[in-house]
């Protein structure tokens, strides 16, 4: 039979490094059932029959956070054969707190005393032998970063698992409480697994809701236990949860006093403290923060020579997927005698290659960004970002860590959404995922450029307003959403460790970068490719004068495209005969024509902007591309690039829209459902169909409402739209938003309030 070993420890204790060291590349990454907590397991190197289960980094086994509940459920229900408890040697006191809880599970345990190299470097002394004797379990010294000791830890764990050796564990609680716990044990004996007697007794003593629920005792026993607890609480003048926590820490303090000698005098600053003194300094803190964020933006997103990310993505888009891959497929398809203009050619080149290219194009930029974020995380700066920004972001229900996704989203929404991974609190993370793509990303800039150039004479105010609308949407959405039940509750408590700074490990950073990038390619890829093929199909096929097929080909056949038909099509599409082009006959145009009424109240309810909006789902820059096609802007004939002055298209666009309608169109396209790539990322991060649709639905609804207000109320103000039903609804919507902003939100019942949506894990 396989041996299952669980790896448990605090965040920042080097658990991931040890896990990678033990399992090498043999890892399986997934999610714990029903929650977005990442689950990793792997086979121990050189042992085909030993499975290492990585548990989330946790500080305790309380019932209040998702990670803790997931870990508890696993340890109690799956009963691993052994636990490797990784303990940060530079921070023993708090790390041992989890250990005291793990030891109650009666599972063979070995303690891996990590960062022992750092302990020695600091001149501190940890007596591993004495520690082992006092705790009654094996302690192995380890430097996961250098790979020293990890093999020994694994061997010890296997040996203990095979022997079912629990060691001789010492009593943690002092006599009074120990007596009460033993009484509770006597009451529940037989109702629970004998191995978990102690665990359950303590949980009942703490009135742990999840444990009480799981055991389900008869009411007379419940009453008896409650009396025991109350008496003990009275005697010690404290609540039961605090009693247990205090006793655990007292026990640890006793052990640490005898086994750990710190070289540094109390109050003396470590190197990390000295760095932190400058980095989060009252005065220098914000400027340093701004510089670091600017550097990340510049390297990953910006348009300068240092901008590796942008350069790599441009290269991928323009050269690899602009020339090389299509060129390669041209050769292959040519060799197979698949001619240009056939269905198969179109499907492969315009559907699949272009679709995959749209996905892969993001990857280099994402990798650069993830590399930088992984470094920040590994160094320990990420928690300082939250420390510095918390004050601002919690005003609208987000966490300090939401800053990074929003910043990144100004470059590209896909890594923006994925950067939300570093937010531990599930509610904050969902809210961040839902709102972060409101920021105008790089691909939305051409839309802004088009509207600003064609309608507003290139006014810089259009772009400024776009960013303002994006930020305002995030803030307002944050305030409105957190008043709903699903997001309600106090902002997640900000009781957060600020880990000591350390030099990042190259392997760990590269690995974390690649894992994030790969999970995007793998999971989001399928969604985007299928969606791109559908859009391609709709835009390439259509019925021309009664003949169904590729519209481009059919339009070359003079016998089908008669003058009469062109006149009819022009009439149906409400354009002049000269402007008729193949796309007007496509299915997409028909669909656009049919659904364009939806956008009538927003002022742009003709089929062209409707189709442009739909193609924007493939990639936002497609909106402008589609305009180029639909307004018959012929690149070759005009001899100028669309990106140049583009006056050809601008004039025609300007003729078709009033300024306020064009602005409403821009607002809608900036805020509505993002491109398929970003939707894929949202799906990946939400890991839940309902939440994914809720996010997309909310964004689209918000975009519609805002565009409606812009057109109807804004139009009324500037005198472009006459007063009517639209104005009344628009004003009602404004009042509605104000009401949602100021209303008293849903207040969760204090007794069931928890740090995160723990119930999802049950």
């Amino acid at each position: 039979m396989d041996i299952k070993i669980a790896l448990a420890g605090n965040p920042n204790s080097g658990k991931t490094t040890l896990f990678n060291d033990l399992t090498g590349s043999q890892q399986y990454v997934g999610n714990w059932p029903g929650v977005t907590v990442e689950k990793k397991e792997g086979k121990l190197k050189g042992h085909k029959d030993v499975v290492i289960q990585d548990l989330p980094g946790i500080y305790s086994l309380s019932p209040y956070t998702l990670e803790e509940v997931v870990s508890r459920t696993y340890l109690v229900n799956e009963k691993p054969d052994a636990i490797i408890n990784i303990v940060d040697g530079t921070n023993i006191e708090r790390n041992l707190y989890l250990t005291t809880q793990l030891l109650e599970l009666n599972i063979p345990t070995v303690i891996a005393l990590n960062m022992i190299d750092l302990v020695r470097k600091n001149g501190d002394k940890v007596d591993a032998k004495a520690l082992s004797e006092k705790l009654g379990v094996e302690v192995v010294e380890l430097s996961a970063l250098k790979g020293e000791g990890s093999a020994e830890v694994a061997e010890k764990a296997i040996k203990l698992a095979k022997e079912k050796n629990l060691g001789s564990r010492s009593a943690i609680l002092d006599n009074d409480v120990e007596g009460v716990i033993q009484n509770i044990e006597a009451e529940i004996k037989g109702s629970v697994d004998d191995n978990l007697l102690r665990w359950n007794a303590i949980k009942l003593f703490e009135r742990d809701s999840k444990a009480v629920e799981a055991i389900n005792l008869p009411s007379d026993k419940k009453q008896k236990i409650e009396t025991l607890i109350e008496n003990c609480e009275k005697a010690l003048d404290d609540d039961s949860e605090s009693i247990i926590t205090n006793q655990r820490y007292n026990y640890i303090t006793g052990i640490v006093k005898d086994t750990v000698k710190k070289a540094r005098a109390k109050g003396e600053l470590s190197v990390s403290d000295k760095i932190d003194k400058i980095v989060t300094n009252r005065i220098l803190g914000l400027p340093i923060f701004a510089v670091i964020m600017f550097l990340i933006y510049a390297i990953a997103m910006g348009g300068w020579t240092v901008s590796i990310g942008t350069a790599a993505t441009d290269f991928t888009n323009d050269v690899i997927f602009g020339e090389w891959v299509p060129g390669l497929f041209d050769v292959i398809l040519g060799a197979l005698h698949v001619e240009e203009g056939t269905v198969l050619y179109g499907l492969i080149q315009d559907g699949i290659v272009a679709g995959v290219g749209a996905v892969i194009g993001f990857v280099p930029q994402m990798l650069v960004l993830f590399l930088l974020l992984s470094i920040l995380e590994d160094v320990g700066y990420m928690s300082r970002v939250a420390f510095v920004m918390d004050r601002i972001f919690r005003q609208f229900g987000l966490s300090g860590k939401s800053f990074i996704p929003c910043l990144v989203a100004t470059g590209c929404g896909v890594p923006g959404v994925m950067a939300s991974r570093t937010i531990e609190n599930e509610r904050d993370r969902r809210m961040t995922v839902m709102t972060t793509t409101f920021m105008p990303c790089g691909a939305k800039l051409p839309i802004i450029g088009l509207i600003a150039g064609a309608i507003f004479g290139g006014s810089p105010w259009v772009a400024a307003s776009a960013y303002f609308i994006g930020i305002a949407s995030i803030v307002i959405s944050g305030i409105i959403l957190k008043k709903f039940k699903a997001f309600a509750g106090e902002p997640a408590p900000f009781v957060m460790e600020l880990p000591a700074y350390h030099i990042p490990s190259v392997g760990g950073v590269l690995r974390a970068t690649w894992e994030r990038g790969w999970s995007f390619i793998k999971r989001a890829g399928s969604v985007i490719v299928i969606s791109s093929i559908v859009i391609w199909f709709l835009s390439a096929f259509g019925s021309v004068n009664g003949t169904f097929g590729l519209v481009d080909n059919l339009f070359e056949d003079e016998s089908i495209v008669t003058d009469e038909y062109v006149a009819k099509l022009a009439d149906r599409m409400d354009i002049s005969e000269d402007d008729v082009n193949p796309m007007d006959a496509s299915l997409l145009a028909s669909v656009g024509n049919a659904v364009s009424f939806v956008f009538k109240p927003l002022g742009f309810g003709s089929w062209k902007p409707t189709v442009a909006t739909v193609t924007g789902l493939v990639a936002k820059e497609e909106v402008v591309g589609t305009f180029g096609v639909l307004y018959n802007y012929d690149e070759d004939a005009a001899g100028e690039e669309l990106g140049d002055e583009g006056e050809g298209i601008w004039e025609r666009v300007a003729a078709d829209y009033t300024p306020i309608a064009a602005f409403a169109f821009m607002v809608f396209n900036l805020l509505c459902a993002p491109c398929f790539a970003a939707i894929g990322a949202i799906k990946r991060e939400m890991n839940n169909r309902k939440w994914t649709w809720a996010a997309i639905g909310y964004m689209t609804l918000w975009a519609y409402v805002l565009a409606f207000i812009v057109y109807n109320v804004g139009g009324l103000i500037v005198g472009e739209v006459a007063f009517g039903v639209g104005s009344i609804i628009g004003i009602a919507l404004v009042i509605g938003i104000i009401y949602l902003l100021v209303r008293k939100g849903y207040k969760p019942d204090e007794s069931v309030k928890s740090l995160t949506a723990v119930n999802a894990a049950a």
Binding site: Y59, S60, S62, Y64, T90, N91, I92, E93, R94, Y97, D238, D239, E241, S242, T245, N246, Y249, K262, G267, D273, D276, K277, T280, N281, R282, I283, G285, L286, F289, S383, F387, V388, D390, R391, I392, E490, P493, F494, V495, M496, E497, L498, P499, A500, E750, S751, K753, S754, L755
Partner: protein, 73 residues
Amino acid sequence: MKTLKDTAIGETVKVVKLHGEGPVKRRIMDMGITKGVEVYVRKVAPLGDPMELNVRGYELSVRKADAELIEVE
């Protein structure tokens, strides 16, 4: 009643009692702020909240609203 919120930067204080209840209190205790422990107030964030503490040999940050629940000597 003096709380951790009122403690000046650079001061070391001893925790007397934790007020409040539920998850936040448990979290604070899980992180090592228990009765009798010494807490050193390292600094306050650039925008005035949260604050950074040194407790049991490591750095912990708590919001002032939560620090108000921690009674000190």
